[in-house]
């Protein structure tokens, strides 16, 4: 009796698996015509980390998309009005979770994907998007390879070579520093990539650079700060994730580091600026957007965040607008433009329409070059105001 039961169960499992697969394939084909008749729903996939090292940034990026979805919940495609639904999947920051999270999105029949915060996981997911032929719009993944190696990946932000060079120029020309110290997490391609470009550019300008790495999970940055002081470095460039940024600020303040802490777009987070509040440190960062750049957007999203407890928690407990949030907002509207231009919810049509999309977002003009990267030639530089605990605008810096 038992063995028959076991056999039946085993067979049932196999069939269930096959049936499951079959069923979802059916729904995929049947949902498309149904949507055409009544308008229906168009799904935009959100491929973002909600947990892990980049969880904080990913959540803020999602906020921008959710707010955009709240502002503009429908889109007109091919003469019919569609309701836009965000399908959010957590990719847990790390590359090994990228493929299954991406496959999950494909399973939900999305027309276009937005994300991710963090380049490594974007590249891991990109392979799946390419397999499925679904276009993806990178929001703040800055590694050149995200788009150069993937035909379906586009992005609306600037790239690491650009950002690294901007920071090097800023440090050398504006701050007048000739000796720099860089700190990157071992194993993080984002950190290491930016440090590479920064070092290249800074050395080309005539400066000296000392590179060091710290192992993942480090909390004690005191000795690194001491090393930087020993090198006589005028800036510490540390393009690290939010958590480490807070700890580095803390250590720099404890060790009384007198130079400037230089951060990248990951530092543009209210948790970072709050940890600098009341401390004797100078923190300068590059970013995509400066709060106050678009008054209408700022007041609208603040109101929305304040009215929404979950959103406020995800934003770090206040209504400060991060650049990644603005970028998420722009990415959503870029996706809508692409859908309109495609005249269809078919991923292939959206993919074909994406290269021609032009959109003026809150973070500036968005248009793509032949690789799929945004044409951007300026970054915002902000500094942490240690009295108010907010970012102050410094300048707009280009590479020249």
């Amino acid at each position: 009796m038992k063995k028959i039961l076991a056999l039946v169960l085993a067979l049932a499992m196999v069939f269930a698996l096959a049936a499951c697969g079959g069923k979802s394939a059916d729904t995929a084909s049947s949902s498309a015509p149904a949507a055409d008749e009544s308008g229906g729903v168009v799904k935009i996939g959100v491929f973002e980390p909600q947990t892990g090292d980049n969880g904080a940034g990913g959540k803020q990026e999602i906020l921008g998309m959710q707010y955009a979805n709240y502002v503009q919940p429908t889109v007109e495609i091919g003469g019919k009005t569609y309701e836009v639904k965000l399908e959010i999947v957590d990719n847990r920051t790390t590359a090994e979770n990228g493929p299954s999270a991406a496959a999950e999105l494909m399973n939900r029949d999305v027309s276009v994907v937005l994300g991710s915060y963090g380049s490594g996981v974007s590249m891991a997911g990109g392979a799946v998007f390419a397999e499925a032929g679904v276009p993806a719009i990178g929001v703040t993944c800055t590694n050149p390879q995200v788009t150069s190696d993937c035909d379906v990946y586009y992005r609306i932000c600037f790239l690491d070579p650009f950002q690294g060079t901007v920071l090097a120029n800023y440090a050398y020309n504006t701050l007048g520093v000739t000796s720099a110290y860089t700190l990157a997490m071992l194993g993080s391609d984002y950190d290491q990539g930016l440090v590479y470009y920064f070092t290249e550019a800074f050395k080309a300008l005539g400066g000296t650079v000392k590179n060091e790495d710290f192992p993942e999970g480090s909390a004690n940055f005191v000795s690194y700060i001491n090393n930087a002081k020993a090198e006589g470095a005028g800036v510490i460039f540390a393009p690290v994730s939010t958590n480490y940024a807070q700890l580095i600020i803390e250590a720099a303040s404890a060790q009384n580091f007198e130079g400037t802490l230089l951060g990248s777009d990951t530092w543009d987070n209210n948790m970072v600026v709050e940890s600098a509040q009341g401390k004797a440190v100078t923190v300068d960062i590059t970013t995509f957007y400066q709060e106050g750049g678009n008054a209408e957007f700022d007041s609208g999203i603040k109101e929305w965040i304040n009215a929404n407890a979950d959103a406020k928690t995800n934003n770090g407990g206040n209504d400060m607008v991060s650049a990644v949030t603005a970028m998420g907002y722009d990415a959503y509207f870029t996706a809508l433009e692409a859908l309109k231009a495609a005249g269809s919810t078919e991923p292939s049509a959206v993919l074909a329409a994406l290269p021609g999309v032009h959109y003026t977002g809150v973070s500036g003009e968005i248009a793509f070059d032949e690789i799929g990267d945004a044409k951007r030639d300026a970054a915002y530089i902000k500094t942490a105001n240690t009295e108010t605990g907010a970012w102050d605008f410094v300048t707009i810096q280009g590479v020249n």
Partner: protein, 292 residues
């Protein structure tokens, strides 16, 4: 490398933090022959409790609450996850410890939303900056080794001169004989976990005052390193764990100082392997003969 001093000061402070965790490992190992993988996570939870309690309560209430809840957590872990396996093979016990560690991390993940929690209300006074011999540092850096020394002295007194301390020594010498002699094994073991968790809570408060951000993986590395320290000093020996912790703390900072930070973690493990192969009983460990 600049002057040696800032690295030494920092190394001593790091060593003190490791020492407080290492004692928890060494006590438990001495009695149960169990590497309590969950100990680092207890340390992390203590940090989280500190974040939440200091945000809502005044400091004179928050600190006792952290100690109390952490001790309770250590007690509950022992009762729930280790006590049912007392007669099981040691491997099951270790697997249970790994399972508990996994569970605590995932629960912490759920409750924090997976985001690192910044310590916004640091303990006053010890989080202020001071200048020692012309080097700036936080006061907690100086307080940590002193507090560690005081607590260790108290612990040694407790183990050598109180009844339950004697019980602990007896159980670690010979589990079954101690049982036959009428020692309440379960309460002695619970006491071990209570003491270990208490010290971990103190360690966490110092650690997260110095490095004010608690991630769910924050306990992992300090935990492993403290364990290495315990092995280095001779597992089961309290002075050994403390000396081992200070040595590891200092050498780690010196390695960063000479520019090999890539291997600052790897060094600790290399040291562990060398010690295990050359002198498995560590610096102060007693020679234990395996019973067949």
């Amino acid at each position: 490398m600049q002057g040696l001093l800032p690295y030494l000061i920092n190394g001593v402070s790091v060593g003190g933090q490791y020492a407080l965790i290492a004692i928890g490992y060494t006590l438990v190992y001495g009695i149960l022959r169990l590497i309590n993988f969950a100990h680092g996570d207890v340390f992390m939870v203590a940090g989280l409790i500190m974040v939440y309690s200091s945000a809502t309560l005044p400091m004179y209430l928050a600190i006792p609450l952290v100690l109390l809840l952490t001790v309770a957590l250590g007690f509950v872990i022992e009762r729930a996850a280790y006590k049912p396996l007392r007669s099981a093979p040691r491997m099951s016990l270790m697997i249970s410890a790994i399972g508990v560690s996994y569970l605590i991390q995932n629960l912490a993940f759920y409750f924090t939303g997976g985001l690192p929690q910044p310590v916004t209300n640091a303990i006053p006074w010890i989080s202020e900056n001071v200048t020692v011999f012309g080097e700036s540092t936080k006061r907690v850096t100086l307080v940590t080794p002193v507090l560690t020394a005081v607590l260790v002295a108290a612990l040694v007194y407790f183990i050598n001169h109180t009844k339950i301390g004697m019980g602990m020594r007896a159980v670690s010498k010979d589990f079954e004989t101690a049982l036959l002699m009428g020692i309440k094994i379960n309460s002695v073991i619970s006491m071990t976990f209570v003491v270990g968790s208490f010290l971990a809570a103190v360690g966490a408060m110092l650690y997260f005052t110095n490095y004010p951000s608690v991630a769910i993986t924050s306990g992992g590395m300090p935990g492993l390193k403290a364990f290495v320290a315990a092995v280095f000093g001779g597992i089961g020996s309290i002075p050994g764990a403390v000396v081992g912790a200070f040595l590891i703390g200092i050498s780690e900072e010196l390695i960063k100082g000479i520019g090999y930070s890539t291997f600052s973690d790897a060094f600790t493990f290399a040291l562990l392997i060398v010690v295990l192969c050359v002198r498995p009983t560590g610096l102060f460990g007693e020679k234990v003969t395996d019973k067949v």
